[in-house]
């Protein structure tokens, strides 16, 4: 047991735990919104659709440090929304793990939307029409036909988002800094170890762990998605 703890040291393990917490929250919270936006982009025609599409993709295109700075200007303790959140709900994002989760969620959002939009576009709207002729309301159509058919795409999107959240660095360190036990995720910890002499071996261990975690996530998602896809196509 001690060997296990000693492998990364308390700071290392703390970073891993924090990264997992941040990434899980980021994925879970942005999933419903990503699904909604993906559905709207795939199925609806409205004024400003291209603009919405552009905004959704912005975190993918902007340098992460810019996204982080924008977050700081919006959600910092003296920024308008940040101050309002603190006064009204007592929620502080800047320099807290919650802020790290927000940054990770925003960075992962476009990837999740893209994967889900593809899945939704692959569902034949004729099936949904058929469901309506059989007496299903819009909500019933979504739950009984659309949702089960896009489930593999949703899982893929969620895993992609989770992996992105685990690896997020630029926006996170700009928005919430690199405070051990508070905002130091695995990538920030690696960066931190590399800043001190003789920290390379600790950094290398975390690098190895990152590779294992990321690879594991992708493999699990692949297996899950395939299982669901098989169930759906009836094989």
């Amino acid at each position: 047991m001690n060997a296990f703890v000693d492998f990364l040291g308390p700071d290392g393990w703390q970073a891993v735990g924090l990264s997992l917490r941040v990434s899980i929250w980021a994925t879970v919270l942005s999933l419903p919104l990503a699904l909604y936006v993906a559905y709207v982009l795939a199925r609806k025609e409205f004024w400003g659709k291209q603009l919405l599409n552009g905004i959704v993709h912005l975190p993918l295109i902007l340098p992460p440090v810019v996204t982080g700075y924008l977050l700081l200007m919006t959600f910092g303790r003296r920024a308008p929304i940040g101050a309002w959140l603190e006064q009204t709900f007592g929620i502080v994002l800047a320099f807290r793990w919650t802020g790290a989760a927000l940054a990770a969620a925003i960075m992962a959002f476009p990837l999740m939307v893209r994967a889900m939009r593809l899945a939704i576009e692959a569902v034949d709207p004729k099936l949904e029409q058929a469901a309506r002729t059989l007496g299903a309301s819009s909500a019933q159509v979504f739950l009984s036909v659309t949702f089960p058919l896009i489930l593999p795409g949703m899982i893929a999107g969620a895993v992609l988002g989770f992996a992105k959240a685990m690896g997020e660095f630029g926006a996170t360190i700009t928005f919430v800094s690199n405070i051990p036990g508070q905002t130091q995720t695995v990538p920030s910890a690696i960066y931190g170890f590399l800043q001190i002499p003789g920290g390379e071996s600790d950094a290398l261990k975390l690098v190895g762990l990152s590779v294992v975690l990321s690879l594991g996530a992708v493999l699990i998602a692949e297996v899950l998605a395939r299982r669901v896809a098989n169930r759906i196509s009836g094989q």
Binding site: K126, R132, T133, G135, S233, G234
Partner: protein, 364 residues
């Protein structure tokens, strides 16, 4: 049941303008592809909102653009069978079948379910997924799924068009049973003369968005003026007949309102009703009763309509008993025989010219 449709809708290259009241039975919307048939039933089902019009079933108004009434698809309770089956790929056949009942929160009606499953021969398929069904099986499941949603009317949009000949022959008898047993009005969209001849009670002919003719199938198919829509080689009267006797020499004797008919063995029991399609090009005419001739069916009748086509042919409608026959002869023959309205003559039909596909079980 009274279904009343009166709609106008601008399509890409012409305006659809259709108004008709469908009586009970199978009403066939017949016309070439692109005539606007599917648009009519999409408007009826609510999947498409026509520019102007009114649609009602019995006392329920589905659509009235003047009054701003437009019932949602799921509120209309129509069983829609699509050309491309549209089964839900992630549900087994049983779940597909019960979909409408579950979504509408209807109480489970095991007897009705059993009847439909039996009528469509689905019991062996219930645990399969759609991916494991043949084209014909998928279409049967789609029909069953529509029926089990307890619809007030059944819409069939070219249900056989995507199937090969063998699968069509497999499904047609089910559709005939459906017409005769399900006690449900059916709107049947098709561009196939043989399907309409077998299944329809009433025919509505559409041409480029306009209604050309409408009437009982036996009248429309024996109407020389319908030739443009039906096509000269497919045109032919439909007779109703009862199987009277199966003879040992492979012939079946049938009784019609005008005379006995001898046809190659009809595959139904003595006493059952059939409808027989006799193509106009297979009917010969004679002024005197032919003797010493191989043809077995010689029917005496009166000319009720004559129409000269654009080609060398003349279409002659002959009334015999309550039935109408249609014969296609050359202008030269018509002139030589001096054919005229009201004239009595004999129609000659070779037994072997009537194919099995032209004979179907029916209550006309």
């Amino acid at each position: 049941m009274s279904l009343s449709i009166d709609i106008r809708h601008q399509l890409a290259d012409f305006e659809l303008d259709v108004a008709f009241d469908a009586p009970a039975g199978v009403t066939a919307l017949f016309g070439a592809s692109g005539a606007g048939k599917t648009t009519v039933i999409n408007a009826l089902s609510g999947l498409l909102r026509p520019d102007h019009g009114r649609i009602s079933l019995d006392d329920q108004v589905f659509l009235d653009t003047a009054k701003g009434i437009d019932l949602r698809v799921q509120q209309r309770r129509l069983g829609y069978v699509f050309q491309d089956h549209r089964l839900f790929p992630h549900m087994r056949v049983a779940r597909n079948l019960s979909y409408g009942q579950r979504m509408q929160g209807l109480p489970k009606d095991a007897a009705h379910e059993q009847r439909v499953i039996e009528m469509l021969g689905l019991s062996a398929l219930l645990q399969r997924f759609p991916a494991a069904l043949s084209g014909g099986e998928k279409q049967r499941v789609a029909i069953g799924r529509a029926l089990l949603s307890k619809p007030r009317i059944l819409l069939l949009d070219e249900p056989l068009a995507s199937l090969d000949q063998a699968r069509r022959q497999e499904i047609l008898p089910y559709l005939e049973r459906l017409r005769d047993e399900a006690d449900l009005p059916i709107l049947y969209v098709s561009h196939s003369v043989s399907e309409v001849a077998r299944l329809a009670t009433t025919v509505v002919i559409l041409e480029r968005g306009k209604m050309r003719r409408m009437g009982p199938v036996s009248e429309i198919f024996a109407d020389p003026e319908a030739v443009g829509a039906i096509g000269v080689s497919a045109l032919g009267a439909i007779l109703k007949a009862r199987v009277a006797h199966h003879h040992d020499d492979g012939l079946s004797e049938l009784s019609t309102s005008c005379s006995k008919l001898f046809l190659p063995m009809v595959q139904t029991d003595v006493g059952s009703n059939v409808r027989i399609r006799i193509r106009a090009q297979d009917v010969m005419l004679s002024l005197t009763e032919p003797k010493d001739i191989s043809a077995l069916n010689i029917l005496k009748g009166t000319i009720t309509a004559l129409q000269q086509g654009e080609g060398p042919g003349v279409l002659v409608q002959v009334k015999c008993g309550d039935d109408l026959l249609l014969a296609r002869v050359t202008q030269r023959s018509a002139k030589a025989m001096a054919l005229s309205l009201g004239q009595e003559l004999f129609a000659v039909i070779k037994s072997v010219s009537v194919a099995q596909d032209d004979i179907s079980a029916a209550t006309l």
